[in-house]
Structures are given as structure tokens and as C-alpha cells.
């Protein structure tokens, strides 16, 4: 087991290095210049800036410096937020994204499993039909629509009931509820479909037939044999989803005015903010790799057939 974990971590480090190198290469080859701004800067000022950010050095030297700093866990300075360190941006903004993300992923995970199980249980009956229609909506409608509608919903609710649920901002439990639901909605819809398929595949499995013929009560077959086995594929995709949701609520963060990390992913690319692009991408990559490893370890807990020390 420890050997397996060590192996996986080693692979993970290689993956992160690869992500960093690929991002560095792509970032420097796309058009767009971090020093361009709407008020053009003169050659002299440009030279000052290039010297400050080390952009006057050769690409390979820049890459070397970046790698060296990355190993030390230092992503340097933001170009846009000139005197903030990328590390500080991640350290201050990520906890907010993570809080919202954990909530969203729990909504999405539990909801997806339950709705999926329900549709499989009532296959081709009305609950199945209704939920599947909602699922298709959930997958195809972009999140900014849900976010906008959710916010308008709060405004209307406040007006009709005379209550005061905040429409934007951060700080209390009321600031989290709707944004987390909106953030988790797409994943929930996707997981519902996955769970449904997975449940229906298992219905005809040998062990279910055996259990039935032995006379095991149907509730027990459903709970112990079907549900538990069907959850496995859902768990598999949960890892990447956790990383995705906890770091990437760009739309939700913008609409609800939430001080998270998600907006930095998008705006950094638009602004060619090299420091923030590299910092957030490597951070995200490392987080993703870690989540996948954790989920693989969880497999062993859920599925006794998996022996990790092999």
C-alpha cells in the first residue's frame, strides 16, 4: 500500500511537471502580450517592465527560472495585480472557492446518486421521465442562465416574502446556498445520468439474480447489492469533478460577487497575466492529480475486490 501511494505520487509529480511545461509553451506561443494595455506604453517603459518580469531573457532561461521557483513553491508576481504574489492570491481566494465547491460537490454527488437511483427504480415510469427531462436541461443550459435566474429568484422571493436573502456577496450561510446549488447543478445532472445507467446495467447481473432466487428481500438487494455496486463509476468521475468545481466557478463567482479563485483562471488568460496563468494552472493540476489519487484509494474502501498493493 505505501509503495503504491508512493508510485502514484511520483506519477502525479510527473503529470504536474508536464502540465506546467505544456502551459508554459502554449502561453508563450499564443498572440497577446502581457505588457499591452489600452494606453500604449513607450519603448522605454516597456523595457523597464520587461526587465522587472524577466521577459527580456531568453524563453529557455525564463522556463528554467520558472521551474526552479515552482519547485520552491513560488509562482512569482501577478502582472495585473502588480504587487500581489500569485501564492497570496491562491492562499486568499482558494478557501472561498473550496468552501463553495465542497458544498456544491456534496449537493451534486448525493443528489446525483439519489436521483439516479430513483430513475432506475421507476424506469420508464413518470418519475424517470420527469427527472431525465430535467437532467437534459441541467446538462445543456449554461450555468450563467441558472445563476441569473437563481439571483432573480432571490430578488422575487425577498420581495414577496419580505425577507432578506443576500443576492450577492460572501460571509454567511445565506450567501452560499443558492450559488452552491447553481454551481453543483450541471454536475448533479451528469451524475444522475451516470448513476441511472450504472444501476440499470447491474439489474441483470448474475449476483442480483442469485440474491433474488435466494429470496433476499428486494429492499436489501436494492440497497446492498445494486446501489453499492452502482456507485463505483460515479465515484470515479467524482475526483475530477471535485477539482473542477472547487476551482472553477468563474460564472457563479462573477454573478454572485464571490471572492473566489475561479475568476482568476479566466481573466488571467484574457489579460495574459503570465504569473497567475502558471500559478493557477499548476495549482489546479496538482489538485486534480491529488483528487484522482484519493478517489482511487477510496475505491479500496468501497470495493473490497480492489487490492491496491498489487
Amino acid at each position: 500500500m505505501p509503495r503504491y501511494i508512493a508510485m502514484r505520487l511520483l506519477q502525479g509529480i510527473f503529470t504536474v511537471w508536464f502540465i506546467a511545461t505544456a502551459t508554459f509553451g502554449v502561453m508563450h506561443s499564443i498572440p497577446g502580450d502581457p505588457l499591452e494595455s489600452d494606453k500604449a506604453i513607450s519603448q522605454e517603459i516597456r523595457e523597464n517592465l520587461e526587465a522587472k518580469y524577466g521577459l527580456d531573457k531568453r524563453k529557455i532561461t525564463q522556463y528554467g527560472i520558472f521551474l526552479l521557483n515552482m519547485v520552491r513553491g513560488d509562482f512569482g508576481w501577478s502582472f495585473e495585480h502588480e504587487n500581489r504574489r500569485v501564492n497570496d492570491i491562491i492562499a486568499e481566494q482558494f478557501p472561498v472557492s473550496a468552501t463553495l465547491g465542497v458544498l456544491a460537490i456534496v449537493f451534486a454527488g448525493l443528489g446525483g446518486i439519489l436521483w439516479g437511483a430513483l430513475t432506475a427504480l421507476y424506469r420508464n415510469k413518470w418519475p424517470d421521465v420527469v427527472i431525465i427531462i430535467l437532467v437534459i436541461l441541467g446538462i445543456s443550459v449554461p450555468s450563467f442562465v441558472f445563476a441569473t435566474v437563481g439571483q432573480l429568484g432571490i430578488v422575487t422571493l425577498n420581495k414577496t416574502l419580505g425577507i432578506d436573502i443576500p443576492v450577492a456577496g460572501w460571509g454567511t450561510v445565506w450567501h452560499m446556498l443558492i450559488p452552491a446549488l447553481v454551481l453543483g447543478l450541471g454536475t448533479m445532472a451528469f451524475l444522475t445520468r451516470l448513476m441511472r445507467t450504472s444501476m440499470l446495467e447491474i439489474v441483470n447481473a448474475d449476483y442480483i439474480r442469485t440474491a433474488r432466487s435466494k429470496g433476499v428481500p428486494i429492499a436489501q438487494i436494492f440497497a446492498r447489492h445494486q446501489l453499492r455496486n452502482a456507485i463505483l463509476p460515479v465515484l470515479t468521475v467524482l475526483g475530477p469533478s471535485i477539482a473542477g468545481i472547487t476551482t472553477g466557478g468563474f460564472v457563479v463567482e462573477n454573478v454572485f460577487g464571490i471572492p473566489g479563485l475561479g475568476k482568476y483562471f479566466v481573466t488571467a488568460v484574457q489579460q495574459s497575466d503570465y504569473g497567475v496563468i502558471m500559478g493557477t494552472t499548476v495549482f489546479y493540476g496538482a489538485f486534480l492529480v491529488l483528487m484522482v489519487i484519493i478517489v482511487d484509494l477510496l475505491y479500496a474502501v468501497v470495493d473490497p475486490r480492489v487490492r491496491l498493493n498489487k
Partner: protein, 568 residues
């Protein structure tokens, strides 16, 4: 028998349906517990309260939102509007602008300003928020820092009128050689590189704000990063800044003119770029002001909120690419396009939101001239859409370009919904009137700038906002030496007229030169004037005394107060 073996804990319900319901209940409980737990933790770590209402009578506080997180508060390096607006509240330069953009004494009590030098007498009751006096050294230090090449300030050029400013910035002179010297703590002498008639107005710009050297150095490179990494000499001080979340300004008790400040605090409680969110915050009584756009103005109208308009100072135009290899370097082609353009149609039928003015000149209507407004004294070139003459120009252009039919042109623009609508209007209009095929090239901001700089376009949707309150902030835009002249337009007479306006100290000579500039730009069809942008917003009328400006701190809440007589 076997069953009990398999199921030693008979706690299952009768049917799968009930079983699932039971699980759902567990899940619900889990979610609620998690929500409360995370809520508790967040509240525990939440710095400062998220404000509760737009206008708070008891605390004498108003709440607003910001469209973006201020990138930083270091005045030597700030470039954006949000930082500029905040700096205008928490810092004070030698002078400040009054409600009518008149020049009022700031830290400087009085001054004598000649053509090439000036002396500023600083008030002795100006203090930093930590109690140290604001002195002439603080100005010298701040300006030297901004010009120091190591600072790499993008706005260092604003300080170039000061003697040796440019030489320092390019590393050819030491910072000590700057033509700004502290004679004593309260006397600042300034020497200029060349006569700069508008220099006094520049002094209100944020790059000219003072910084206390001792404090700056004590922050070891973090000056301006957080609220505690600054000291303040303006009417307000920043008491809280939670990045991306909120900014709180409180009355600065040490400000020399504190008795004139009315509000006890200004809370920027929300940071969101989404205008719909701002409007929802306004609708639920959380913020005092919300900007409107073409999409949500309908809602403001149906809700019967008071809608205000204000010129945000900027001018929008279509820029041509004047590089020789591009068809738009042909004068007759540009004239043909100019003759079919109709700014009034654009403003009233396409943009539609109130507040915009049809563009007639590179100089917006609010700029001052010799005595009154520049545009009253020097009318803009006459323009009327004239399709017949456009076709004449077109035929000549085709001859000169050796083409049989109108060339197809690349129209470079932004990636917003507004940019698309705007570009599509020109696409259909130019096709219909002149038969020109337009290829729309939508690019995100930095890539659009990169393409403008490298010249990969024929026509670009562009705009310009003022840096200081003088005609030259627009007038020198198309000189051959201006880096913002990305279309590489070149006209010797225009260059010459701008030089006159830069060097002359006679207002009439300067304004006449600028009048020539607006006519040259039109006659040459160097650009096509489109519109002067107005911003539309809803405002809580319980708050009074807010100044909107076209140049400088905008909106300016320094003199704002809450109207005690409320009628709602």
C-alpha cells in the same frame, strides 16, 4: 434461516422506494449539517460584516459596489479606473478638482506657477493618517519612485513634463536630478522640461499623489497591497480591504479639511463585473448606485427607478490602418466610408441607451476652450451622410487601387455582445451603401491590442478616455510619435499643430491649433468619429452631493451626504 445470516442487522425498510427515501433524508440532514458547519466557519473567518443596506442613517454610511478588484493602491503604479477612483478618496495631491472641475487647493495652500517653473506652499496642517506631517519630501519621493526604471511604472510618462523626468525613466539620469525639489518641509519647487500650460491640472492625477518615504520603505515592497500597507492623507482612509470581496473607507479624522467631510464611512461591499448583479443589489436596497446597459435598462424603466446619465468622458471612433499595404491607406476609400457613416443613426438606432452623443470631433463637448467650452468656440466639422459623393470617392479609390470591385475589409473588435452588435451594424451598412464586404474579427482585449500594434486589421473599433483636463489629452493622439497611434497615421501639419499646443502658453493659440487638428482628422478621414459615451445609471436619491466627472475621480463621494428628509 439463510436470510438472518445474510442480514444480521434487520434495519431495512420494506421496499426499495422507502429505502431510497430514508437515504434521501440522511442526505438532506448531511447537507444541512455541512451547510451550517461551513457557514459557521466562514462567518468565523469573515473579516468585517457584509453591509446590510444601501443607506445606513445610524452609522452615516453608504454602500456601493465595485466593478473589479482594484489591482493595487500604489499610486506610482496604478493605471485603472477603480484604483483611480479609490485613490481620489483616500489620498490628496497638491490640488484637487471641485464639483465644476475648478482647481481647488489640496495639500498646497497656494502656489506661483510660471512658464518653466513653479513654487508650491504646502499647508502645515496636512497629516498622514499615522500622524506624521505631509511634507514636500513626500511628493518628491513619490515622483522619483514612479520615474525610477526599477519601479517600471506604466504611467511614468505623466510625470515627463517635470525636468529630467523622461531622462530618469529611461535610465539616463539619476532620480536626484529630478526637477522637483523640497526647499523645506513645506515648500516645493518644480522645474519643467518645457512650457506645459496644463501642468497645474496634471497635479490632480493619481501618479502625482504623495507617498511617505519612511512608511513606503517599511513595507518592503508591499506598499499598496493591503489596507494596512498604506497611510492616507485624503478625506477618507481605507480601514478594510478583503481582496475580491470588499473595501471599506472611513472618515480620516486627521484630514485637514475633515469638518467638510459628511459621511462617516463608504462601504464598497460588493465586487462584481456583472451589471445585472449590481441592478439586483440596487433592487434589494443594498447599494446606492448601479450602472445600466442596453439589456437591463428596460427593467429600470418598468420599475420606474430614477435614471441618470452622465458623460464618462471618453470618445469612440473607427480607426483605420494607414500602413501602405492596406487598402485603407487610400484616402478616397476612407473618404467613401466616412461619407456613408451616420453617427446619429448609430447612436439613436443602434446603441439606443440614453446618454451617448453622436460623435463629431475627437474633442468631446465637455472640454474647456479659451473661455467657455472648446466645441462652442470651435465648432466641429460639418458632416452629413452623402451616399452620392461616397460613390464618387469609391470610384476614384477603385481606380487608384486598381480594383474592379470594393475590397473586403477586416473589422477588428472586442468579444462582448455589444461589440458584435456594433460591428454587425457596420457590416450590413457598408455592404448596403458601398458594397464593401466586412470580415468581423472578434478578439479578447489583449489580443485585440496586439493585433492593433502589429497592424493585422483594416478598421478597428477604438476609444479613448482622458487622462487630464486639457484638449491635448485627445489632441496628441494621432501624432506620429504617439504609441497609441496604432494605425500609424502620419500628417506633418497635425504634428506641427500639436507641437504648438504643447509649447504655447497662450490659450487662444493653443485652441486654434487644436481646432486645426479636429478638421485635419476629418478632412483626411484619419478616423471616423462615432460617439461620445454616456453612462446610464440608477441612483438612490437619499444620497446627495455626489459629483460625476468626465475626467478625474468618478464618482466622487468626498462631499456626499445622506439627506435627512426622506420621502420614501
Amino acid at each position: 434461516m439463510t436470510e438472518t445470516l445474510h442480514n444480521p442487522k434487520p434495519r431495512l425498510t420494506a421496499t426499495p422506494g422507502w429505502q431510497l427515501t430514508k437515504y434521501a433524508l440522511y442526505a438532506l440532514v448531511l447537507c444541512v449539517v455541512l451547510l451550517l458547519l461551513l457557514g459557521f466557519i466562514t462567518e468565523k473567518f469573515n473579516v468585517g460584516a457584509t453591509s446590510t443596506s444601501a443607506v445606513n442613517f445610524e452609522d452615516n454610511t453608504i454602500t456601493l459596489s465595485l466593478t473589479s478588484e482594484p489591482p493595487q493602491m500604489d499610486s506610482t503604479r496604478a493605471t485603472d479606473m477603480v484604483s483611480g477612483m479609490l485613490l481620489g478618496h483616500i489620498m490628496e495631491g497638491l490640488i484637487r478638482y471641485g464639483p465644476e472641475n475648478e482647481i481647488l487647493p489640496g495639500v498646497a495652500e497656494s502656489w506661483e506657477m510660471g512658464d518653466l517653473s513653479g513654487t508650491f506652499h504646502l499647508r502645515q496642517d496636512a497629516y498622514w493618517s499615522n500622524g506624521t506631517p505631509v511634507t514636500a519630501h513626500d511628493f518628491v519621493f513619490s515622483w522619483q519612485t514612479a520615474l525610477n526604471p526599477a519601479t517600471a511604472s506604466q504611467y511614468a510618462f505623466v510625470l515627463y513634463p517635470i525636468k529630467n523626468g523622461k531622462a530618469i525613466n529611461v535610465g539616463e539620469a539619476s532620480v536626484d536630478s529630478l526637477g522637483a525639489k523640497a526647499i523645506d518641509d513645506y515648500t516645493l519647487s518644480i522645474e519643467l522640461e518645457q512650457p506645459t500650460p496644463y501642468f497645474i491640472k496634471l497635479l490632480a492625477f493619481f501618479t502625482y499623489l504623495p507617498i511617505n518615504k519612511e512608511f513606503y520603505e517599511s513595507r518592503e515592497g508591499n506598499y499598496g497591497t493591503n489596507a494596512e500597507d498604506m497611510i492616507y492623507n485624503g478625506p477618507f482612509l481605507m480601514s478594510r480591504w478583503v481582496h475580491d470581496k470588499d473595501v471599506r473607507l472611513e472618515r480620516n479624522e486627521r484630514y485637514w479639511n475633515n469638518s467638510q467631510t459628511n459621511l462617516d464611512a463608504i462601504e464598497f461591499g460588493y465586487i462584481t463585473p456583472d451589471p445585472n448583479t449590481a441592478l439586483n443589489l440596487f433592487a434589494t436596497g443594498k447599494i446606492v448606485l448601479a450602472g445600466l446597459n442596453a439589456e437591463n435598462i428596460e427593467r429600470a424603466l418598468t420599475e420606474r427607478w430614477r435614471i441618470e446619465t452622465h458623460s464618462d468622458g471618453s470618445v469612440f471612433y473607427l480607426g483605420f490602418n494607414h500602413r501602405a499595404e492596406r487598402p485603407t491607406s487610400n484616402l478616397n476609400l476612407r473618404k467613401a466610408i466616412q461619407q456613408v457613416c451616420d453617427p446619429e443613426e448609430l447612436v439613436f438606432k443602434v446603441l439606443k441607451t440614453p446618454g451617448n452623443l453622436p460623435g463629431e470631433s475627437i474633442f468631446p463637448v465637455w472640454l474647456r476652450g479659451v473661455e467657455g467650452y472648446f466645441r462652442d468656440e470651435f465648432p466641429a466639422p460639418d458632416h452629413k451622410r452623402d451616399v452620392a459623393s461616397a460613390h464618387d470617392y469609391m470610384n476614384r479609390a477603385l481606380d487608384e487601387l486598381g480594383l474592379d470591385e470594393p475590397p473586403s475589409l477586416v473589422f477588428l473588435t472586442g468579444d462582448s455582445a455589444f461589440s458584435s452588435k456594433h460591428a454587425e451594424y457596420y457590416q450590413s451598412m457598408l455592404k448596403e451603401k458601398l458594397g464593401i464586404e466586412i470580415k468581423i474579427d472578434k478578439q479578447i482585449f489583449k489580443q485585440r491590442l496586439a493585433k492593433m500594434t502589429s497592424g493585422e486589421y483594416d478598421i478597428v473599433a477604438a476609444g479613448w478616455g482622458p487622462d487630464y483636463d486639457d484638449v491635448l489629452t485627445f489632441g496628441d493622439l494621432f501624432t506620429s510619435w504617439n504609441a497609441n497611434n496604432r494605425g500609424l497615421y502620419k500628417n506633418e501639419e497635425l504634428d506641427h499643430q500639436v507641437e504648438i499646443a504643447q509649447q504655447s502658453s497662450d490659450p487662444r493659440t493653443r485652441m486654434e491649433a487644436m481646432d486645426r487638428v479636429q478638421h485635419i482628422l476629418y478632412e483626411d478621414a484619419a478616423i471616423i468619429f462615432e460617439y461620445e459615451r454616456g453612462s446610464v445609471y440608477v441612483f438612490d436619491d437619499r444620497v446627495k452631493g455626489v459629483t460625476r466627472r468626465s475626467v478625474g475621480t468618478d464618482p466622487d463621494y468626498t462631499q456626499a451626504y445622506i439627506n435627512p428628509e426622506v420621502d420614501n
